[in-house]
Each structure stands twice: as structure tokens, then as C-alpha cells.
Amino acid sequence: MTACLFAGCGSSDKYPNGKVYVYNWGEYIDEETIKLFEKETGIEVIYDEFDTNETMYPKIEAGASNYDVVCPSDYMIQKMVDNDLLAELNWDNLPNARSNIGAEYYEQSLAFDPDNRYSVPYCWGTVGILYNTTMVDEPVTSWSILWDEKYKDNILMQDSVRDLFMVALKELGYSMNSTNEAELQEAKNLLITQKPLVQAYVIDQVRDKMIGDEAALGVIYSGEAIYTQRENPNLAYVIPEEGTNVWIDSWVIPKNAENKENAEKFIDFMCRGDIALMNFEFITYSTPNTAARDLIEDEDIRNSEIAFPDLSQYNNLETFSYLGEEADRLYNDLWKEIKSYTSY
């Protein structure tokens, strides 16, 4: 290992089959699987992480960084398709992806990837409220609890634009893909009235803060729920009755990728049942990989309502779609207004 610490040095003997540049969410893979991939294929993986879809996009768009595999969410994939940033997949090279990923997830993908030409689902889940049962006595069923004065300074909201607006739009009964300016203004005002009650706008720090009993309620991705409950048994996760976001993060290949074949090998490797299982156990986000789910030994988890919710019992579930540049700007401007609002 010491011999090859330097990025790119002497990789030819250890990795005869070139490289693949992977750009994924932080903490979103079991690093063992990367090592297995390198060992089995002789392809060196150069791995990089991002924290929101919005920070990932300009890097791909600018083209200064040539990634071969990226793992964006639904609406961002649509934006990348619209802006012609993605390469079409060659499904002949992806046998595991064809056989192991459940058909319903490909169907769901049609919303942002018509004809399933660009993306292979990697993880999916919902967004909901994680709450501490020792601090919240009433049953949590609705987003409206996030506007309850009782929980002032005990609420954690998401620090990314679409996730934040989703909560307000759903609370108001609108679509979370709304581009109607009046609706968005209403949502903005609702979020501004909420701001004095909010302890902090964070991304995944929700996890640590909820584990440490720092807050009573937090908006969180379902995948984090299993991990946080393991660390703090007082936490419970709920999907509010007004509906929520059902999201999919999928593997895609950017158009300017220099190692497309290796990229497809990487994607297909990640779709292998045993590998997908390793990843599921490490990151605890729901896997669309049916082969992996069948391999889960712990019956409680295989049938867990949190890891694999039966979506048919919820109303108003939606998936984000890309709203166009105009709407993007509107969202960002309104978000800036919320962020710059202070009550003093």
C-alpha cells in the first residue's frame, strides 16, 4: 500500500485494465466493495464524493472533471438528460442490472428517464420525520407538527432547496414539483414563519444531532432511520399523511466519460446480489436489488417497514422531476429569501 499511496503512481502493474472515476454521495458505499471490484477486474477506482445534487451538477457541467460514473437523484438525472450531459447505457454490458433490479423501480425511473436509457437504480427511499419519542408525546402523523410552537428550537430542517420546499408544498397540499409562482410564494412564506422555530438547517448532521438528543424532530431520509434507531432506540420514523418524496438515486454515465466500458463494468458489479447486500448493510438505504433483498438474513430487516415500505398504503407520493432553468432560478431566489430572513 505504501508503494502506491501517490494517486496515479505505478498503477499499471496492479491495475492492468485502466481506471474508472466514480463520483458518489458521501458515505454511500461499502468501501470493501470497491476493493473487491478492483481485485476482480483489475480496474482502478478513483472515488470522489459529493454532498448534494446541486454541488455535483456544476462539476459535471463545467467538464473540468471527467467522471465516468455518477450517482445523482431522479430530478437531477432528468436535468442532465435535458442538458445532454449523459451517455446512453449499453444494456448488453449490464446483465446484473437487468436481472437483479426490480421491475417496479425501472418503471418508477420512467418519470425522469423515459425509455430507461440512462440510469440504473442504486438506492431508493422516502423522506419523513424522525422524532424522539421521549420529547414528543403526541402521535406524529403530519408535516404540520414542524410548525408547532411547542417544539421551538427542537426542529431540524434540510439544508437543500428542493427537500426544504417539498415539506412546505406538501403541507400546503400542493405538488412538490410545483412551478406555480403563487404556490411557491406561499410555501416560502410558510417556511419563513417556521424559521424562528428551527434549530438548524443541516444535511446529514440530522443523524448525529438526533442520536445525541439535540432535537425532537428532524426531516430525514428513510435510509438514515435504521442506523439512527440502532444508535438511539428512542427515535421513530414516520411518513406524514400529506405524502412525501419517493426518491431514487441511480448510476449514470456522463457523456464526457473517458472510460465508458469500465464504468458499465462498475455499475454492473454494484448490481450483483452479494455486492448490493454488502452496500445495503453498510449504508442501510433501501436497495432496489431484489437479489440482495432475498439474501438478507435478518428477517426483521428484510420485512422492515422502514427499509422496504409498502408504498401502496400512502397517499400523494411523488418523485422529484426537473423543473427547468426558469423554475430552478425561482426556487433558488426564494430559498435565498428564506435563508437571509432573520427575526432580529
Partner: protein, 257 residues
């Protein structure tokens, strides 16, 4: 009474400066992965740290960028000091003014401006671009710590050496160099430290697949820091602390010899 007050004040400031560092040290022994919960004492992060290739690679990048950039900056900076010293007043003022820019300008603007340059020139962002950026912001620290030493030099000593038949290079190494060495060393140390601690400029000039400890930590701050990071920082800190004490003990022993 007055002395006691002084001592208390210093102790309070030191607690303020070192409390977060002690906190990180404690977290490095926390068995729980979450920083919010104490899961018992463990040294497992120290063991797994060396097996974590990602962190080791980031450490290697950080150290090599800090070392190369501070060495280059020290050489370029020292040479420039000689040149600046021999300049007329106006030229000197201009060049010192430019030197001050990266130090006084906002890191975010420096980082962004370099990123724009690299992208427009089509240079692929990576190790090399970070290195260039670090050299750029390191040079001023060297110049500003060597310059005062230069000014204290007596120019006639150098002239005398030349008169006695020394070449320019000889005269520099025999006469000037020993006098400005403390300035060069402290400039080097400052540059090394700044490079090591930089986040913002690296953040904007880095490319795919390359991380320094800073940029790695930034992605992790939002996702939850891997406890190995605490362990690594604690090791770095303790090593530097020990080195510092060793260096400061040696001169005291010298006179006794």
C-alpha cells in the same frame, strides 16, 4: 496579585485555544461512530486508520502538497527578497503590494480566481492545480518573514566579501544566508502550516479523485466524520507537539556542553 491575574488570564486563553483540540482527542477514543454519543473507550480507530486507504491517500496528498509547495515557495520567496532588496523604492512598493494580495485578499476570491484561470486554460483540476495554488499563497508568507531580516543586513559586509574575491553565490551563502536563515525557516514553517490548514482554496482548485484531509473532512462534516479522522488529527498534533518540545529543549542544553 498582579502576577496571579496574569497567570489566570493566560490559562483561560489557553483553555479557549485548546479545548476543541482536547475534545477531538477524546472523540478519537470514542467507541461509538456518532460524535454525539459516548460508546466507551477504544483504540480501534487508531488501528483501522492505517488500513483506511482513502484517509492515507488524503494524508499523503496533504503532506506532499504542503512540503513541495512550501519548499518551492521558500526558494522563490527568498530569491525574490534579494531582488526586491536591490530594487528602487517605487518598484519595491509595487512588488510588495502585489505580494500582499493573496495574503490580504479573501481566500474564497483567491480560490475562485485560480479555478477560473485553470478552467479557462483547460488545465485539468487535480494535484497539480492545488499545488500551484498553494505555492501562490505560500510565497507571501516567506517574503514577509525574510524581508525584515534582509533589511537588518549590513550591505557593506556583502560588498566586502565581493572585494575579498568571493563570487556572488559564495558571498550569498557565506555572508547573507546565515543571517537570514531564521527568517527563511520561520517563513517555511508558516508556509507549511498554512498549506496544511488550508481548506477554501483547495476546495475550489481540486479535481475529481483527489482529496486533501481538509476537503475530505468537509464532505464528511455533513455526512458524519469518520472517527479515524479524529485519530489521525490527534496523532499529527501529538507528533508536532513532541517535535516542538524537542526543538525547544536542544538550544538550552547547548551552552552546558
Amino acid at each position: 496579585m498582579k502576577n496571579a491575574a496574569r497567570r489566570i488570564y493566560i490559562v483561560l486563553i489557553f483553555i479557549f485555544m485548546y479545548a476543541p483540540i482536547a475534545t477531538l482527542g477524546v472523540l478519537s477514543f470514542n467507541a461509538s461512530k456518532s460524535r454525539a454519543k459516548w460508546g466507551g473507550f477504544t483504540i480501534k480507530w487508531y488501528l483501522s486508520l492505517f488500513k483506511n486507504e482513502e484517509i492515507m491517500r488524503a494524508l499523503w496528498n496533504t503532506l506532499s502538497i504542503a512540503l513541495i509547495s512550501s519548499v518551492v515557495a521558500t526558494v522563490v520567496g527568498t530569491v525574490s527578497c534579494i531582488a526586491i532588496q536591490s530594487m528602487k523604492k517605487k518598484g519595491r512598493a509595487i512588488i510588495i503590494g502585489i505580494t500582499n494580495i493573496p495574503m490580504l485578499n479573501a481566500d474564497i476570491v483567491t480560490g475562485i480566481s485560480l479555478m477560473l484561470l485553470f478552467i479557462v486554460l483547460g488545465i485539468r483540476l487535480g494535484f497539480f492545480t492545488i499545488l500551484l495554488a498553494h505555492i501562490t499563497f505560500n510565497i507571501p508568507y516567506v517574503i514577509l518573514s525574510v524581508m525584515p531580516r534582509m533589511k537588518q543586513l549590513n550591505p557593506s559586509v556583502y560588498e566586502a566579501a565581493l572585494d575579498l574575491g568571493a563570487s556572488h553565490v559564495q558571498a550569498f551563502f557565506k555572508v547573507i544566508f546565515p543571517d537570514i536563515l531564521p527568517g527563511i525557516l520561520s517563513g517555511f514553517l508558516m508556509a507549511f502550516t498554512m498549506s496544511l490548514d488550508d481548506f477554501i482554496i483547495t476546495y475550489f482548485t481540486k479535481g475529481p479523485g483527489i482529496d486533501t484531509l481538509s476537503t475530505k473532512i468537509y464532505t464528511e462534516v455533513r455526512k458524519g466524520i469518520k472517527p479515524e479522522m479524529y485519530a489521525l488529527s490527534t496523532i499529527i498534533f501529538v507528533v508536532v507537539l513532541v517535535l516542538l518540545f524537542l526543538v525547544n529543549r536542544t538550544p538550552k542544553e547547548k551552552p552546558a556542553k
